[in-house]
C-alpha cells in the first residue's frame, strides 16, 4: 500500500515542470469529459430501456419517434466518450508524432460530431420537431444543452487540431508510453475490458449522483439503499483507482500495485455484494420501494439484474487486476 502512495513511486516524480503541466492538462480534460459524459450516458441508459421496451412490445413506431427526438443525446454521449478515448490515446501515445495525429484526427471527428449535433437540434427546432429550445426533458435544458454541447464539441475539435500543430512544431514534454509491444493481444483484450469498466464507472458515477435524490431513505430499508449506492460508487472508484493510481505508478512496481489494489477492492466488493444479497433477502420489497429510479433495467426486463450486474462487474474486475498483477510481478522477477 505504501508503495503506490509514495511520491517517488509515481510517474510524475520523474517528470519535469513542462511535462507535469502537460500531464495536468490531460487529467483536467479527462475529468471534464467524464462528468458530463456520465450524465449523458445515464440519460441514454433511460432512453435505451424505453426504446427497447417499445421494440419488444411491438411498437417500433414509438421507438423510432423517441430515437428521432433523442438522437442529439446519443450523439452527445458518443462525443464525450470519444473525447475520453482520444485524449487517453494521446496521453498514452507511443511517440510524439502519434500523439499529434491523435489530437488532429480526434479533433476532426469532434468537429463533425459537434456540427451534426448542433445542426440537428437547430433544424429540429426550426422544423418543429422540438417545440421550443428548452423543452425540459430529458434534462432541464433539453435540447438547448445538446445544441450548446455541439457548439462546444466544435470548439474542442478546433482546439484539438490547433494543439496537434503545436505538438508537431514544438514537441511534447510528456514522455510517451510504448507498451503496445509488451502486451500485444492482451492489450486489446484488456482494452475492451477497460472500456466496459469505463462505461460501468460512468453510469455508476451518475447513479451515485442521482441516488442521492432518488433513493427513498424516508421509506425505510436504509441499509439496502446505502449498499446499493456503495455498489455503484465502487464501480466508479475502481476506475479512478486504475486510472490515477495504477496507471500513474512506475511500470516496475505496477504488478504489486495491481495485486494490492485488486485485493482491496475485491474484499470490499465481495462484502458489498454479500450485503446487497442479504438486504434484498431480508427486505425483498426494498428495490421497488426505495430505488427504482436507479435500477432502470429491472422493470423492463422483469428481472432482478441491474444491481447484480454491478456486483458481478465489481468482483470480476479486481480478480482480473490481481491476475494481471501476478503475471506482471512474475515477469518482473524473471527479467530481474
Amino acid at each position: 500500500m505504501a508503495a503506490y502512495l509514495t511520491r517517488n513511486d509515481r510517474i510524475k516524480s520523474e517528470l519535469g515542470k513542462d511535462a507535469r503541466r502537460e500531464r495536468r492538462f490531460y487529467m483536467f480534460f479527462s475529468i471534464l469529459a467524464f462528468v458530463p459524459g456520465a450524465f449523458a450516458l445515464w440519460e441514454i441508459n433511460y432512453e435505451l430501456w424505453n426504446m427497447i421496451g417499445s421494440v419488444a412490445s411491438n411498437s417500433p413506431d414509438m421507438a423510432l419517434t423517441q430515437t428521432v427526438r433523442m438522437l442529439p443525446l446519443y450523439l452527445t454521449g458518443a462525443s464525450f466518450i470519444f473525447f475520453l478515448i482520444y485524449t487517453n490515446g494521446a496521453y498514452r501515445a507511443k511517440n510524439v508524432k502519434a500523439r499529434a495525429s491523435k489530437w488532429c484526427a480526434g479533433g476532426i471527428v469532434m468537429i463533425v460530431l459537434g456540427m451534426i449535433t448542433a445542426a440537428y437540434v437547430g433544424i429540429g427546432v426550426a422544423l418543429g420537431e422540438y417545440d421550443r429550445l428548452i423543452e425540459g426533458y430529458v434534462s432541464p435544458l433539453f435540447p438547448l444543452d445538446m445544441l450548446l454541447a455541439g457548439v462546444i464539441f466544435i470548439g474542442v475539435g478546433f482546439l484539438s487540431i490547433r494543439y496537434s500543430k503545436v505538438i508537431g512544431e514544438k514537441g511534447s514534454a510528456l514522455p510517451c508510453v510504448d507498451d503496445r509491444g509488451l502486451f500485444g493481444w492482451r492489450l486489446r483484450t484488456f482494452g475492451l475490458l477497460r472500456a466496459l469498466c469505463l462505461l460501468m464507472a460512468m453510469i455508476g458515477f451518475a447513479a451515485c449522483f442521482w441516488g442521492i435524490f432518488v433513493l427513498d431513505f424516508a421509506h425505510g430499508c436504509l441499509m439496502y439503499g446505502i449498499v446499493l449506492w456503495l455498489n455503484y460508487f465502487t464501480a466508479f472508484a475502481m476506475y479512478f483507482a486504475y486510472k490515477y493510481i495504477f496507471c500513474e505508478t512506475k511500470p516496475g512496481i505496477r504488478g504489486t500495485t495491481a495485486v494490492k489494489l485488486g485485493s482491496i477492492f475485491l474484499i470490499i466488493n465481495v462484502i458489498l455484494f454479500a450485503l446487497h444479497l442479504i438486504t434484498v433477502q431480508i427486505w425483498n420489497e426494498a428495490p421497488d420501494v426505495v430505488a427504482f429510479g436507479i435500477l432502470p433495467a429491472d422493470f423492463l426486463t422483469s428481472m432482478n439484474i441491474f444491481a447484480v450486474f454491478y456486483g458481478v462487474n465489481n468482483i470480476l474486475a479486481p480478480i482480473i487486476a490481481i491476475a494481471r498483477g501476478l503475471v506482471m510481478e512474475k515477469k518482473n522477477r524473471s527479467i530481474a
Binding site: M62, T65, E129, G220, H276
Partner: protein, 366 residues
C-alpha cells in the same frame, strides 16, 4: 495497511447495518380513517373519466406536431366533455410517468390543472422509475390544484395511493365510495429470485378498504381503481373461454393479463364491500371488461396515448362484441357514469386516434 483497510471496511459495514431499518410503519390506519378520505358532491349522472398508462415520459410529451401526449390528452378530455356534457372526476390509474424527470412531472401537473377537473392519481409500477424521489412525486400531487391525491406517511397499509373519495348526497350521507388502491410495483421472493413478478394487493389493503366502507355504511356502492390486474381477469377469461355461463364480457384482450403470481381472486372481497366495479390499467393492449355471475364488473381502462407501446386492433376480433370495420389503435379513455345511488352505472370506451385525414373517434358502450 491492508489489514487496517479491511478492518475499516468491515466496521463500516457493521455500522451501516446497525443504522438499517426497513419497517417504519408507525401509523395505524385504524386511528386515521378520516385522513384517507376526500369528498365530492354526488349527483345522478356523475361522470368518471379513466385515463391510464399515459407514460408522460417526456420524450414525446411536449408540443410535438408529429406526436404529443399533451395534445392527445387534451383531445381525449375535450371529446369526453363533449360526449358526456361534463366530466366530474378524472381517475388516472397508474404509469402516468416512466423513466422521466421532475420537469416532465411538473408539465403534467400544469396540464391537469388547466383542465380544471378534479383528478385522482394512483401509483403504477413505472411511476417509481425516474430521477426523482417517490416522496417528491407524492408531495407534488398532495399540493397540486384539483388533485385529490391523499397519502398517509408511514402507515400500515401497503404502498402509497390508498385513499377513498366519498361522493356525498346533499344531506351529507355517502351515495358512492370510490376506493383507490396502490397495487405496487414488482415483487421478488428474495435475493435469489431473479424473475420479478408484479406486486399485488395485500390483505392489509383489503382490511383498510373494508374499514373505510364500514365507516360510510355497508349499503353504499363502491367502485375500485388500481393499476395491476389481480387473478380475477385470468380466471374469468379461462372460464368464459371454457363456456362458463352467467358472464358478460366485451372489448379486447390482445396481450393477456399480467397479474402477480402471488395475487388472488378478489370477487369475494368485492361482494363483501358492495363493490360494483373494479377498473385497472397496466396492460396497454387490453381493455377487456367482464361481469361475473355475481354481478361484479371488472374492467380495464383504455390506454391513454401511444407512449411505450400500444395495440393496433385488426378487423375480425368478433369475441370483442365491438362493431368495427377498420383497423384502429387501442388508445383513448374509459368513461363511467354513475346513474343513481343504488349502484347502477354505465361504462363506455372511447377510442380516439389522431389521423391526418381527420381523427378517428369511436364510443362503445359496455
Amino acid at each position: 495497511m491492508l489489514k487496517r483497510i479491511v478492518s475499516m471496511a468491515v466496521i463500516c459495514a457493521l455500522a451501516v447495518s446497525l443504522l438499517a431499518g426497513c419497517a417504519k410503519k408507525t401509523v395505524s390506519y385504524r386511528d386515521h380513517l378520516d385522513d384517507y378520505v376526500k369528498t365530492m358532491e354526488y349527483h345522478d349522472g356523475f361522470t368518471i373519466l379513466q385515463l391510464t398508462d399515459i407514460h408522460w415520459h417526456g420524450g414525446t410529451q411536449v408540443g410535438d406536431e408529429d406526436y404529443g401526449s399533451e395534445r392527445y390528452l387534451r383531445k381525449v378530455i375535450n371529446e369526453a366533455v363533449a360526449h358526456a356534457g361534463k366530466i366530474d372526476l378524472i381517475e388516472v390509474t397508474g404509469d402516468t410517468f416512466m423513466l422521466t424527470n421532475k420537469t416532465a412531472v411538473k408539465s403534467f401537473i400544469d396540464f391537469m390543472t388547466r383542465t380544471e377537473i378534479p383528478y385522482a392519481i394512483i401509483w403504477g409500477n413505472h411511476d417509481r422509475q425516474s430521477t426523482y424521489n417517490p416522496n417528491w412525486l407524492s408531495k407534488q400531487f398532495l399540493k397540486a390544484p384539483y388533485s385529490l391525491y391523499t397519502e398517509i406517511d408511514n402507515d400500515d397499509v401497503h404502498e402509497r395511493s390508498n385513499y377513498v373519495i366519498n361522493l356525498l348526497n346533499l344531506d351529507g350521507s355517502a351515495a358512492w365510495q370510490i376506493t383507490n388502491l396502490d397495487s405496487g410495483a414488482s415483487y421478488r421472493d428474495g435475493a435469489a429470485d431473479f424473475d420479478l413478478t408484479y406486486d399485488y394487493l395485500r390483505d392489509d389493503q383489503f382490511e383498510w378498504m373494508t374499514a373505510e366502507h364500514d365507516a360510510v355504511g355497508k349499503d353504499v356502492p363502491v367502485i375500485c381503481y388500481y393499476h395491476i390486474a389481480q387473478a380475477d381477469y385470468d380466471l374469468a377469461w379461462d372460464a368464459i373461454s371454457a363456456g362458463a355461463a352467467g358472464y358478460k364480457s366485451k372489448f379486447f384482450n390482445i396481450e393477456g393479463f399480467a397479474p402477480s403470481k402471488y395475487c388472488r381472486a378478489t370477487e369475494d372481497i368485492c361482494l363483501k364491500n358492495n363493490v360494483k366495479a373494479v377498473f385497472i390499467g397496466h396492460d396497454h393492449a387490453d381493455d377487456w371488461t367482464f361481469t361475473t355471475p355475481s354481478g361484479v364488473t371488472f374492467g380495464m381502462g383504455v390506454k391513454s396515448g401511444k407512449e411505450l407501446y400500444y395495440a393496433n386492433i385488426a378487423p375480425g376480433l368478433d369475441y370483442s362484441g365491438v362493431d368495427y370495420s377498420e383497423e384502429f389503435a387501442l388508445i383513448g379513455a374509459s368513461l363511467v357514469t354513475l346513474k343513481n345511488a343504488s349502484g347502477d352505472f354505465g361504462i363506455e370506451h372511447l377510442y380516439l386516434n389522431e389521423r391526418d385525414e381527420g381523427d378517428f373517434v369511436k364510443w362503445v358502450e359496455y
